[in-house]
Amino acid sequence: MIGIKNDKKMGREAILKSVKQNKPELLQLPDINEASFEEDINLLETFKNNLKVVGGFVKEIDKKSIDTEIKVLHSNKTNIVSTTKKSALGTITIDKNTEPHTLENIDLAILEAELGVSENGAVWVTASNSIVRVLPFITNDLVIILKKENICLHMLKAYDQIAERHRDFGVFVSGPSKTADIEQCLVVGAHGAMSLAVLLI
């Protein structure tokens, strides 16, 4: 291991030295004028449209009917994990120490997201929303609950909103997993969740 450390140091110093020698004179970091991106649009409707475009299902529902709605969408699932108090449909409980591989056969995961982005239908899901990071990816189907008032216009605003978070892992999820790698035919359901439903409360 000592050998490795030496190499590491050499690589580091050589690279930094070479950058220093070869970089151009300092160019200013531009200010971002967010006014250029302002748009007077209906955030909720745009979010819904964009989520549909990327293959997601979206519905505005009453807070009290969350479980009823999920049961309509996913009538015969057995292995369900819910990481939010807003749904009582979970059949399997997980905690931080749950071995991720044991989630292999999860049919449905129900999570809460903190933020939605109107310009692309994405929702922001953190490690604490998922409890085990692999959950929203390994589950067959994914339901995400989002408060309508937490939808922002675009990604710059989204980063403002999550600026103060505890940074461990977080992901913007826009629709179900998909691929077009076979002759450009879009197929939904690659390695991540086969479906995504966002329930807006």
Partner: protein, 455 residues
């Protein structure tokens, strides 16, 4: 072998070439629609370009800042001057974990470093998990496009490959069936992998985190199941602040495929409890490119592939004809910096129509750099090499009648604007075969200068 010779090879199957051409043009059109939906798109591109210019001018500081922040988060940071060091660092990490099975998500850098054959020679199984990459891996080919690695394969090709390697049933290339089988096959690989390797789309100096974008979810399936995550990045992946992701994530997917954002944009800052995260920062010729004033802006590239989709030569010659990890217009300005002699035909694999520069989300002056490389090559290379290369590509690729419908405008544009010596060169297959019409209007140099002025 020159680009022209390889392009001629690709052109033997005309139906396939026509499909390739149209499929990529369709992606380009999706990009246009998507871009037009964004308020302030041109300003966004300008910001992307200016932020990247600042990054290059302060790169050493940002790298040090990035390293310090990543280390604070419990991430191991390694530095590699070249491909060999990169591969050895990864091998050492794998040995430490006694890892025999590795899953890898898309990373052009590990392609550039030829990591797979290196690890395989050490008895390690490396599985590319992006579907397109898995397809080309099974076919024992390199990717032909940086975003659509298997764009040169038909669904029937994939059907046959899967029958042979995954034991699937003949399906006449049914994409849903094939994707479903690939999902099962790769799920097994994810569940049994020891270590996951990913590329990096953006590395944020002020947080020490890295962002990886995929549509399939393969990076996350790999990372969150394996014991350790190794993320490999070129030094130019740095961006100063997290809020700049708000600029680049708006640009990237729209430019690449016309999607408003990739399905997953994953932000890795700290390893999950009980796991390890490593970042390997790689030079491998990048600081040398940084030293070349005329060409350094090529390091702005965010690998969206838009310049490939729009390029009439790329669309009609296929990614493999470039014989370089990064094909297309951007590959043609990066590769001569790596090996001028080997890649001297690539800057000629262009009509200089400027379409690449027009779509580039970070406003790299790609076609101007192509022209500048030509000047360098004309000066530094022996004449026969140059003569053989000049416009031969365009000759081969553009000589098919089908193309005149598809890219007639470009061909005519070239006639009008290419320097006379290129068109009337005796060795130019294209000029020889055709009776060239008189072209009126500005000559190339005037046009070029004017274009440069107008930026």
């Amino acid at each position: 072998m020159s680009h022209a010779t390889k392009a001629a090879e690709f052109n033997k199957d005309e139906a396939k070439v026509n499909w390739h051409d149209k499929a990529l043009w369709y992606v380009r059109e999706k990009r246009d629609k998507s871009a037009h939906n964004v308020q302030g798109w041109e300003y966004l591109r300008q910001l992307g370009s200016n932020i990247k210019a600042n990054v290059l001018s302060n790169l050493d500081e940002y790298l040090v800042q990035f390293e310090a922040n990543a280390k604070n988060n419990g991430v191991h940071v390694h530095w590699a001057s070249n491909a060999e060091e990169h591969n050895n660092i990864i091998n050492d990490i794998l040995s430490k974990h006694n890892a025999k099975k590795v899953v890898k998500s898309k990373s052009m850098l590990t392609e550039e470093c030829h990591l797979n054959p290196f690890l395989e020679s050490k008895g390690i199984e490396v599985v590319d998990t992006d579907l397109g990459e898995r397809i080309v891996q099974l076919a024992q080919e390199p990717p032909s496009h940086i975003v659509l690695p298997a764009i040169h394969k038909t669904k029937e090709d994939v059907d046959e490959l899967f029958q042979e390697h995954l034991g699937t049933k003949p399906s006449q290339g049914n994409p849903e069936y094939l994707v479903g089988e690939a999902r099962k096959h790769l799920r097994d690989k994810f569940l049994n992998a020891d270590v996951a390797i990913t590329g990096v789309n953006f590395a944020v100096a002020d947080t020490g985190g890295v962002v990886v974008c995929t549509n399939e979810g393969n990076a996350d399936m790999g990372v969150h199941l394996a014991k350790a995550h190794i993320a490999c990045m070129g030094i130019e992946k740095i961006i100063p602040q997290e809020k700049h992701l708000g600029v680049f994530l708006r640009l990237l997917a729209r430019s690449a495929t016309g999607q408003p954002i990739t399905t997953y944009s994953s932000h890795f800052n700290k390893p999950e409890d009980g796991k390890e995260m490593h970042i390997v920062i790689v030079d491998n010729g990048r600081t040398e490119q940084l030293s070349r004033e005329d060409f350094r802006a090529s390091l702005h590239c965010i690998r969206c592939g838009a310049c490939m989709n729009t390029c009439p030569i790329y669309r009609r010659s296929g990614g493999h004809s470039y014989d370089y990890t990064i094909p297309g217009p951007i590959g043609s300005i990066l590769s001569p910096g790596k090996d001028l002699k080997k890649h001297s035909s690539l800057p000629f694999a262009s009509t200089l129509c400027g379409s690449c520069s027009n779509v580039c989300p970070v406003k790299i002056n790609i076609h101007e750099q192509l022209y500048k490389w030509r000047q360098v090559i004309v000066k530094e290379q022996k004449q026969p090499v140059v003569k053989k290369s000049i416009l031969k590509t365009a000759g081969v690729v553009l000589s098919k009648p089908g193309l005149y419908r598809a890219a007639g405008k470009t061909a005519r544009f070239m006639l009008k604007n290419a320097p006379r010596f290129m068109i009337y060169n005796k060795l130019n297959a294209w000029g020889k075969a055709r009776d060239l019409p008189e072209v009126k209007g500005q000559n190339f140099d005037d046009w070029y200068k004017k274009r440069q002025k107008n930026g």
